[in-house]
């Protein structure tokens, strides 16, 4: 039995948890490749034109996996409570997948505060579906959840040491993990920055139990946007510039980025929007100019 893991959307936040969970249960899995032109093209065909780039990419990954495994992992994520919700489009992703790919076999878990679904119970259910007894699945989950948290802490500390020790100019990329880590969205930007001798700091690596996002907005619903605001509060005075990275047409970011730009004065900020059009000339020009601004080029 093989589980297919799409390398998109929640993968970029939870891959470590998923992989260790399946490893601990000794379930075989395959992961779709890094997003490439073929995957994007497939995703574009399968989606309606109004959907955002990461959602299109997600469907492309599912399409890649659908004939290569027994089950595709498609979690449904509504939110953990009333004020920590997922974006409405991603919330519906599970149903979109079920409707787009008829007869697709999925394994899933459902984080839905209305039904009171706890992550552990959901993983146990998932384990049962794969044929494991609940105590086995429960044990596997506990172990992998611990490893997952250690891993995140490790990543955060690694980044912290970069912020403290690096001699290079530092730029914070402020975005959702599914943008930052995607090969055709955030990676493009990180690569350009790195080749220009910039230390890249990622908002997705930040972890904290405290919620400081209320400094900027008290009434934000989306947990991913809160993560962005929290990391902004943490890093903003320790970096040389901030890039707001959005994939077209993200409704949440439209609101949140505008808020950030209005509330933060005297910071070097640039707003970069990535869409499915692949020309990178404009992107390179924007980033290079921003790097010049950070370096303070003058006559």
């Amino acid at each position: 039995m093989i589980v297919g893991i799409p390398r998109a959307l929640y993968y970029h936040s939870y891959s470590y948890l998923w992989k260790t969970f399946f490893d601990n249960l000794k379930v075989e899995y395959i992961i779709s490749p890094k997003t490439n032109k073929d995957i994007l093209k497939k995703g574009k065909i399968l989606s309606t034109d109004e959907t955002c780039l990461p959602a299109k990419i997600y469907l492309g990954h599912i399409d890649y996996l659908k004939d290569k495994c027994d089950y595709v992992l498609v979690p449904r994520y509504l939110g953990v409570d009333k004020i920590n919700l997922s974006c409405i489009k991603f919330n519906s992703m599970y149903d979109i997948v079920k409707n787009t790919f008829k007869n697709i076999k999925t394994i899933d878990y459902n984080i839905d505060y209305i039904k009171g679904c706890k992550i552990k119970n959901e993983f146990i259910k998932m384990g049962k579906k794969l044929g494991f007894k609940s105590n086995v699945a429960s044990e596997a989950f506990d172990k992998s959840y611990k490893e997952f948290n250690n891993y995140r802490m490790h990543e955060f500390e690694l980044q912290e040491s970069k912020v403290v020790n690096s001699e290079l100019k530092k730029v914070l990329i402020l975005s959702h993990s599914y943008n930052i880590e995607d090969e055709m969205i955030g990676k493009k930007i990180s690569n350009i920055l790195i080749s220009n001798d910039i230390e890249v700091i990622l908002s997705s690596k930040f972890i904290s139990n405290e919620d400081k996002s209320t400094n900027i907005s008290k009434t934000l619903y989306w947990d991913s946007s809160r993560q962005i605001l929290n990391s902004l509060e943490y890093y903003k005075n320790r970096v040389d510039g901030i890039i707001l990275l959005t994939s077209f047409p993200c409704g949440n970011d439209c609101l949140v980025n505008e808020l950030i730009i209005r509330k933060l004065k005297n910071y070097k900020i640039v707003n970069i929007v990535i869409d499915e059009v692949n020309a990178s000339a404009g992107l390179v020009t924007r980033l290079e100019s921003f790097i010049d601004i950070i370096n303070g080029i003058t006559i």
């Binding site: 000339a281 404009g282 390179v284 290079e288 601004i293």
Partner: protein
Amino acid sequence: MNKYYMGIDIGSISTKGVIIDCDGNIIAKDYLWTEGNPINAVKKLVQSLYSSVGNINVVSVGTTGSARYLIGKILNASVIKNEITAHAIGTMSRVKDVKTIIEIGGQDSKIILIDNGVVVDYAMNTICAAGTGAFLSSQAKRLGVNIEEFGSIAKKSTNSPKLSARCSVFAESDLVHKLQMGYKKEDVIKGLCDSVVLNYLNNVGKGKKIKAPIVFQGGVSKNIGVKESFEKELNSEVIVLEDSHLMGALGIALIAKMSKIEKKFDFNIKDFNFITKGHECSKCANNCEVVQIFKDRELIDTYGNKCERGKIVS
């Protein structure tokens, strides 16, 4: 021997070039249409610069504009830099205390904010080319006017109609409608200039504090009608320098000079035959668009490839 520096700005519509001396004075300049063939345009440009100054000692070349990589490789440039920095540096060399640069070119428009001689913020038009030079010249064609006369015709207008400023496609249908209603041509042309300005301020200039001194440049700055609309809308003087279209080229020449990287430039480049070949590499799923440049059938550079596999050696 005196040292000279060359700056070339290859835009989508026009190609600009200058040669400066050690003190930053322009000693040769030219401006011509790119006509979709940047290599030919640059060869012509080099020829023209050569015929005005002869074979002088150019020690460093800088390229900017959308074809900067291609031309930079061909001319063996010391610096290849984005047009925003180039424009800022060029303008600052002329107007020391400039705070805002408005730039409207053939296909893109930009705003550059400067504080104490350092660029602090910028914005560029995104996927929409509304209100740029390309839009104005296509409208000029529709109205049967020469684009060069656009500004002077607009000046005659006494009563300009409001045209949609949100999108140039709608502006165009608006324009036809106004003409059919019986508005005079000069009024409609002035209306177009106004809509370019409103469009710019609503899209590119959105949320930016525009402070004087304001310098307006790029090809569209030659259009007096647009300049006056800007002044009316911003309620402030807008400076258009005599060489406003050359600021990018001047800036990149200055950057080449500052870089202190010297690579001897040979004017005979104009006699070589350059060919480029573009193809999609199919060695992996990235499908990079790889461009190869040949100088008299000899491959001098490949670019666009993300990895070594895309590099073609022969």
